[in-house]
């Protein structure tokens, strides 16, 4: 493995460089010629350090940090290719040969990282690829926690915890992490508040209900759930209980009667699915004697859409969503709202990306 003796390197923040032999100014991306005297560790090494440099200790991460000296090898590792986009033949990249049996997606998306990277940063910085990979992995871990806890996050939070020493590279790291979240976990990192750069983590896979919490032996009754959501939708987003039972009876599902697939449905739709947040079951206001109605729950709204459900219902009966004109209108409106929200957030994201990279950070990387 040839060593590059003297290379023009764009110095990164002190936090990154301080542990390596090379010296340099703090913060700003300035070209500096340095003596490259670090030992030639493997390029784009696919093996991760045995104790991961989780040095960005905050209240969240981690509580007993591992030996940060490990960062030396990582930071000092020469990456011969000048541009970050050149794909190191490392298994760390998603586009590694054994994996990409399908042609393009992973490798092209990886390649696309390059141009967008150089657009995001004013110079073609050749920073060690494996450090970035490491930070991407850390950010993914962080986002996965947020997904599990169903908490939103903000750019500020990410910068203060996982990416404290890599603020300049937020756009690259964030975009790669988001992509991994999407392609590997099917989770979308969705911007919900452009002014705040607030994000939520949502599944892209539709209904995630898996029936694991209820009766062990039966197969999960997603089908019945879809029907229920459909009935509610067709009733104008709010369905009286009587109507629900009438609709379900068409499928042979009756309250109080054990169904050979679905079991006893009353418990399922009024308790289990309410607990799972797929439906809301509430008393009709001012009803006496008390009558009840069903609505979509927050999880249904998060995991699917009115249009999706309508399309499914329509196809199930060999028809077209437009056969349900009222619901179709409503679904269109809902769809439009979602699209608008997405456009708004994308616009702001682009503005933000170009804005953030031209900012020279102040020396924010004081040692802990």
């Amino acid at each position: 493995m040839p060593r590059a003796p003297k290379r023009r390197r764009y110095m990164l923040e002190e936090g990154l460089q301080s542990q390596s032999e090379t010296q340099g100014p703090v913060g700003a991306l300035l070209p500096v010629a340095v003596e490259e005297d670090t030992s030639s560790s493997s390029t784009c090494s696919s093996s991760f350090p045995s104790s991961f440099p989780s040095s960005s200790s905050s209240s969240c991460y981690p509580l007993l940090s591992s030996t940060p000296e490990e960062v030396d090898d990582v930071a000092g590792a020469p990456s011969p290719p000048q541009s970050p986009q050149s794909a190191c033949p490392s298994p760390t990249a998603m586009a590694s040969p054994p994996l990409s049996q399908s042609e393009d997606d992973s490798s092209s998306s990886r390649g696309e990282e390059g141009p967008s990277t150089s657009q995001a940063l004013p110079y073609t910085a050749s920073f060690p690829r494996n450090v970035i990979d490491g930070k991407v992995a850390e950010l993914v871990e962080f986002l996965l926690v947020k997904y599990r806890t169903k908490e939103p996050t903000t750019k500020a939070e990410m910068l203060n915890t996982v990416l404290r020493d890599h603020q300049d590279h937020f756009p690259v790291i964030f975009s790669e992490a988001s992509e991994r979240m999407n392609l590997i976990f099917g989770v979308d990192v969705k911007e919900v508040d452009p002014s705040d750069h607030a994000y939520v983590l949502v599944t892209t896979l539709g209904l995630t209900y898996d029936g694991m919490l209820s009766d062990e032996q039966s197969m999960p009754n997603t089908g019945l759930l879809v029907m229920l959501l459909g009935v509610i939708l067709l009733q104008g987003d709010c369905a009286p209980e009587e109507d629900v039972w009438e609709a379900l009876s068409v499928m042979g599902v009756r309250a109080g009667r054990e169904h050979f697939i679905y079991g006893e449905p009353r418990e399922l739709i009024t308790k289990v699915w309410v607990q799972e947040q797929y439906v809301e079951y509430r008393q009709v206001p001012n009803s006496d004697p008390a009558r009840y109605e069903f609505l979509w729950g927050p999880r249904a709204h998060a995991e699917t859409s009115k249009m999706s459900l309508l399309e499914f219902l329509a196809s199930a009966i060999g028809s077209d969503p437009r056969s349900f004109p009222v619901s179709y209108e409503e679904a269109l409106r809902d769809q439009e709202e979602r699209v608008q929200a997405r456009i708004a957030s994308t616009d702001n994201a682009t503005d933000t990306a170009s804005a953030s990279c031209s900012t020279v950070p102040s020396s924010s990387s004081c040692p802990e």
Partner: protein
């Protein structure tokens, strides 16, 4: 309706859903994992043959490698049930718990962990743990509060309680093995057979080596004269049965035992 199927490398929505759900459940027994896998196929690709679980998991792990994450398989220490969890390989700390617990609570966990590792049986008594309450970092915690925190650990599947004593949940062992080995290199015990981390097990009274109960079960299976693999002395303990998933399901024992593992985390 259930999201468009995108194929990237080997990752399809089947795999993505599997990962999402495994993550949500935290830790799952093998029987549930197989059910989960079938469910994911049914939702996205019902015509495809369900891939053998081992291969399915290995394929996913090859993609997860770049993120220092893997689906790790373990075995419960008390009765040898195979379990699976999504584990972060690079994290050498209790950071997985960090999102749910305050600083002093995490310190309580570390103290309990230390007592468990140092103990002979792999169990630490509630009293001994609570006596350490004054040494905790962060906000001051009273014993009454600490009792509740311990219960919280049980609920979140980090500890298990048995008659007033606490040991590590199989999930904690699976997820924190690396961390435990690194922070307690001298005190940590290791199984003489599988060389894995050992919290509970049987020991040879002559030479002191230890073995996991399921490892003992497998090693001495149908051996009428069990002898220590190290010093050859007679093995004095009762040899447990090898875990048989088929037998379990028939007996319906699984119903009551499985519940603790299968609760949703959040």
């Amino acid at each position: 309706m259930q999201g468009s199927t995108r194929r990237v490398g080997i990752m399809t929505d089947v795999h993505r859903r599997f990962l999402q759900l495994l993550m949500t459940h935290g830790v799952l027994e093998e029987w549930d994992v197989k059910r989960l896998q079938k469910h994911c196929y049914k939702v996205h690709d019902c015509n495809a043959t369900v891939e053998k679980l081992e291969d399915f998991i290995n394929n996913i792990n090859s993609v997860l490698e770049s993120l220092y994450i893997e689906i790790k398989k373990g075995v419960t220490e008390d009765d040898g049930r195979p379990i699976y969890a999504l584990v972060n390989l690079a994290t050498t700390s209790v950071s997985k718990m960090a999102s749910d617990f305050a600083e002093n609570e995490l310190d309580l966990f570390r103290k309990a962990l230390e007592l468990i590792i140092d103990s002979e049986t792999g169990f630490a008594s509630s009293t001994n743990i609570l006596n350490l309450v004054d040494q905790l970092k962060g906000k001051k915690m009273r014993k009454k509060e600490a009792e509740q925190v311990l219960q919280k650990f049980v609920q979140h599947k980090w500890l298990v309680e048995k008659e007033g004593e606490f040991t590590l949940h199989c999930r904690a062992i699976l997820e924190m093995e690396q961390y435990i080995r690194e922070t307690h290199p001298d005190a940590v015990k290791v199984c003489d057979l599988c060389h894995g981390l050992l919290i509970q097990g049987q020991s040879c009274e002559t030479c002191g080596i230890k073995m996991h109960l399921p490892c003992v079960a497998k090693y001495f299976q149908s051996n009428s004269e069990p002898r220590c693999p190290h010093c050859n002395d007679y093995w004095p303990h009762e040899i447990p049965e090898v875990f048989d998933p088929e037998k379990e399901r028939e007996a319906g024992i699984s119903k009551s035992n499985k519940k603790p593992l299968r609760s949703r985390q959040h």
